[in-house]
C-alpha cells in the first residue's frame, strides 16, 4: 500500500534531533521514553507478540510440527479439525497445522531478507541523492520514477521469472551449493531479489526527503564547518535523526513483503513446492471456496497471513506514535 512512504515527506520533524550534542544519557532516555510510549499501546504490544510468536514458530518448525508437512495419507483426506489434526487435513491427507507451521518459516525468511536488502539499497541511494543533490539526485530520482511507473505486481512476476533460471544456474556453478538449490533455497533468493528490487525505490525517496530536510539544520552545518567527511555526516548525523520514519516504514514494509511473497506464491511464481508456503496453501485449496471445508482449508492460512500483516502494520502505527511525541 505504501501509505507510509507517501506520507513520509510530510513526517513532522522529530523532537530528538533538536538535541544536538546530547550525550549518552539523553540518548538512553530517548529510547526509554520510546519504549514506554510503545508499551502504552496494547494493540501494538499484542502485535509484537504475534510477530515474535511467528518468528519462534518458523525457527523451530521442525520441532513444533506434529507431522511431516509433505507426507500424504489417503486414509485421512479432508478431515475436519480433530484431536489428531487440530486444523484438519487437506485433500491429500496432509496435516494442515504442520503445513501452516512450516509456512511460517518461509515467511520469516523471505520477508525480512527482502526488506533488509531493500533497506540497504534505499538507504544508500536515498542518502546519496539527498545529501549530494545535483546529478546524483537526478539520476536516483529518475530511476525511482521508472520503477514507480511499472505495475508493481506484474513487474515482480516478470523479474522473478526471468532471473530464476539464471540464479539457479549461477548457484549450481558452485559445487557446494547444489544441494542448497535442490532444497529450494534458490527460490528464496529469487523472490528476495525481486521484492527488494521493486521495493527499494519508495524507501530511497523517503530517505532522500528526510535528508533534504535535515541537511539544512544547524547541527549539520556545524559538522560540515568543522570539516567532517560526508560519509561521517550521513552516517553519524543525518541517518540517525531520520531513523523514526525509516523504522516505521520498515515495519510496514515487512507486512508488505509478506503480502507480496504470499501473492507471488499464490500465483505460483518463485517459491515452489515442496517448500510449504501460505500462498501456495491458499492457491491449492482455492477451488474449494464453496466446499463445506473451505473455512478450514482456505481461511486458516489466509487469516494467518492477514494477522501477521495486520500485526506489522499495527507495530508500525505504534512506532509512529511512539516516535512522534507531539502527536499526543
Amino acid at each position: 500500500m505504501g501509505s507510509a512512504t507517501e506520507s513520509a515527506p510530510r513526517q513532522p520533524a522529530t523532537a530528538p534531533r533538536r538535541q544536538f550534542g546530547d550525550g549518552a544519557v539523553q540518548h538512553r532516555s530517548r529510547w526509554w521514553n520510546f519504549g514506554s510510549r510503545f508499551a502504552r499501546n496494547p494493540l501494538a504490544v499484542v502485535s509484537l507478540f504475534i510477530v515474535l510468536g511467528m518468528v519462534f514458530t518458523g525457527t523451530f518448525a521442525p520441532w513444533l510440527a506434529p507431522y511431516d508437512p509433505t507426507e500424504v495419507n489417503y486414509t485421512e483426506v479432508e478431515q475436519m479439525p480433530n484431536l489428531r489434526h487440530p486444523l484438519g487435513t487437506d485433500d491429500h491427507g496432509r496435516d494442515q497445522l504442520s503445513r501452516v507451521i512450516w509456512g511460517a518459516r518461509t515467511a520469516i525468511i523471505v520477508a525480512p531478507s527482502a526488506t533488509v536488502v531493500g533497506l540497504v539499497l534505499g538507504l544508500f541511494f536515498g542518502s546519496l541523492a539527498g545529501y549530494f543533490g545535483g546529478w546524483i539526485d537526478n539520476v536516483v530520482m529518475r530511476v525511482t520514477d521508472v520503477l514507480f511507473a511499472f505495475p508493481g505486481l506484474l513487474f515482480a512476476i516478470l523479474v522473478a521469472s526471468t532471473i530464476q533460471p539464471r540464479v539457479e544456474a549461477w548457484l549450481m556453478t558452485f559445487e557446494s551449493l547444489g544441494s542448497f538449490v535442490k532444497a529450494g533455497y534458490a527460490e528464496f533468493l529469487v523472490v528476495i531479489l525481486a521484492l527488494s528490487l521493486v521495493g527499494w525505490a519508495g524507501l530511497a525517496r523517503l530517505i532522500r526527503g528526510q535528508i533534504l530536510q535535515l541537511k539544512e539544520e544547524q547541527f549539520v552545518e556545524a559538522a560540515r564547518a568543522i570539516g567532517a567527511r560526508s560519509s561521517r555526516i550521513i552516517l553519524r548525523h543525518l541517518l540517525p535523526n531520520a531513523l523514526a520514519p525509516i523504522i516505521v516504514s520498515i515495519s510496514m514494509g515487512l507486512g508488505g513483503a509478506i503480502l507480496a511473497e504470499t501473492t507471488l506464491s499464490f500465483l505460483g511464481i518463485g517459491i515452489n513446492p515442496p517448500t510449504p508456503s501460505w500462498g501456495a496453501m491458499i492457491y491449492q485449496n482455492f477451488n474449494f471456496w464453496r466446499h463445506p471445508a473451505a473455512p478450514v482449508l482456505l481461511w486458516i492460512p489466509g487469516l494467518i497471513v492477514a494477522s501477521l500483516v495486520f500485526a506489522f502494520n499495527f507495530i508500525g502505527d505504534g512506532l509512529h506514535e511512539a516516535l512522534n511525541p507531539h502527536l499526543d
Partner: protein
C-alpha cells in the same frame, strides 16, 4: 513553473523508452518461448524455427526492440502471439471493463474514506477513532485472496445473495463483490491519510488562530483544516488514477472479470510478450500522466508551491 512542466513533459518519452526497454529485455531474456508454448506438445524444431522466422522472433534484441518502438510510434501495439490478432483489439474492451470497475471502487473509496478519516481525526482518541483505525489497518492487511473467498463463501455459497463471478457490466450484481473487495483497500488508504493530515493541520497555527477567533468548531474543521488536509491526498489520488488502467490482477482473476488485470496474468503465463509490453506501456503512460496532472493540480490549488 513552465520550465518544470516542460522538463516533466520531455522526461515522459525517455521514461517510456526505458520502461519499454526493460520490459522487452525481461521478456527477451526470460525463460519460455512463446512459439513453443503455442505449439505445446506438437512441437517440432523445424516448424518452430519457421514460425519464429515468420513472426520475426529470431532477430537480435535491438532490431526487434527498435521495430517494436517504431511500431509504437505509429500507434501499432503489435500482434498477440497467442491470439494472433492485434493487441489493441484485445486491450480495448478489457480496458473499459477494468476502468469502470476501478473507477467505481475509487469513487466509493474517496467518498467513504475522506469522511471517515475526518471523523476519526475529530474524534481523536475516542472509540470512534480506534474502531476506524483498526478497521483501516485490517483493510490494508487482508490480501484479496483472503477476503474474496470468505465473501464468496458467505454471499455466493451459503446465502446465494450475489453471483460468484463473471461480468455483465458495472450495474449488475456480478460487479458488487469485486467492487467491495477493491474498495476495502482504497478506503483504508484514504482514511489513514486523511486522518493523519487532519491531525497535523489541526495542530498548526492558523487553525488555532481560527479557533481562537471564536469560529464554530465545524467551520474550523471544514473551512480550514479539511481544505488543507486534502491537498496531500491529491498525490495518492493521482497514483490511484494511474492505477485505474493497471487493473487489478488478482481480483479480476478470482472473479473472472474480462479486464486488463486478468489479461495481464494470462498473457504472462502464455508468455505473450506483445500483450505484456502493451499493458506495461499503457500503465506507465497512465502513471506518468496522472503524476503530471497532480503536479499541475498542486500548483493551482496551492500557489505557495514553486518548483526550482
Amino acid at each position: 513553473m513552465i520550465r518544470h512542466l516542460l522538463r516533466r513533459l520531455l522526461w515522459l518519452p525517455v521514461l517510456l523508452l526505458i520502461v519499454t526497454m526493460i520490459t522487452y529485455a525481461l521478456g527477451f531474456y526470460g525463460p519460455g518461448d512463446p512459439v513453443k508454448i503455442v505449439m505445446g506438445q506438437r512441437y517440432d524444431p523445424e516448424t518452430a524455427d519457421r514460425v519464429r522466422h515468420e513472426l520475426g522472433l529470431d532477430r537480435p534484441f535491438f532490431i526487434q526492440y527498435g521495430d517494436y518502438v517504431w511500431g509504437l510510434l505509429h500507434g501499432d501495439l503489435g500482434k498477440s502471439i497467442k491470439y494472433r490478432r492485434p493487441v489493441i483489439d484485445l486491450i480495448k474492451s478489457r480496458l473499459w471493463v477494468s476502468f469502470q470497475l476501478n473507477a467505481a471502487a475509487l469513487v466509493l473509496g474517496v467518498f467513504a474514506g475522506i469522511p471517515l478519516g475526518v471523523l476519526a481525526a475529530i474524534r481523536h482518541h475516542t472509540w470512534v477513532d480506534y474502531v476506524i483505525v483498526t478497521g483501516t489497518v485490517a483493510g490494508i492487511s487482508f490480501p484479496t485472496f483472503v477476503v474474496a473467498p470468505i465473501l464468496l463463501w458467505f454471499l455466493a455459497a451459503r446465502f446465494r445473495i450475489l453471483p460468484p463471478g463473471g461480468w455483465d457490466g458495472l450495474l449488475s450484481t456480478k460487479a458488487v463483490m469485486p467492487i467491495i473487495v477493491l474498495t476495502m483497500g482504497i478506503v483504508a488508504v484514504f482514511v489513514r491519510q486523511t486522518r493523519a493530515n487532519m491531525l497535523e493541520v489541526v495542530g498548526q497555527d492558523y487553525v488555532r488562530t481560527a479557533r481562537s477567533k471564536g469560529l464554530a468548531e465545524r467551520a474550523v474543521v471544514i473551512v480550514h483544516a479539511l481544505r488543507n488536509a486534502l491537498i496531500p491526498l491529491l498525490t495518492i489520488f493521482g497514483l490511484m488514477v494511474g492505477g485505474l488502467v493497471g487493473g487489478t490482477f488478482i481480483v479480476e482473476t478470482i472473479f473472472g472479470i474480462p479486464g486488463i488485470g486478468r489479461l495481464g496474468v494470462q498473457s504472462f503465463f502464455a508468455r505473450d510478450y506483445p500483450v505484456i509490453m502493451a499493458l506495461t506501456t499503457l500503465i506507465a503512460v497512465a502513471y506518468a500522466l496522472a503524476n503530471l496532472f497532480v503536479d499541475l493540480g498542486y500548483s493551482i490549488i496551492d500557489p505557495r508551491i514553486r518548483y526550482g
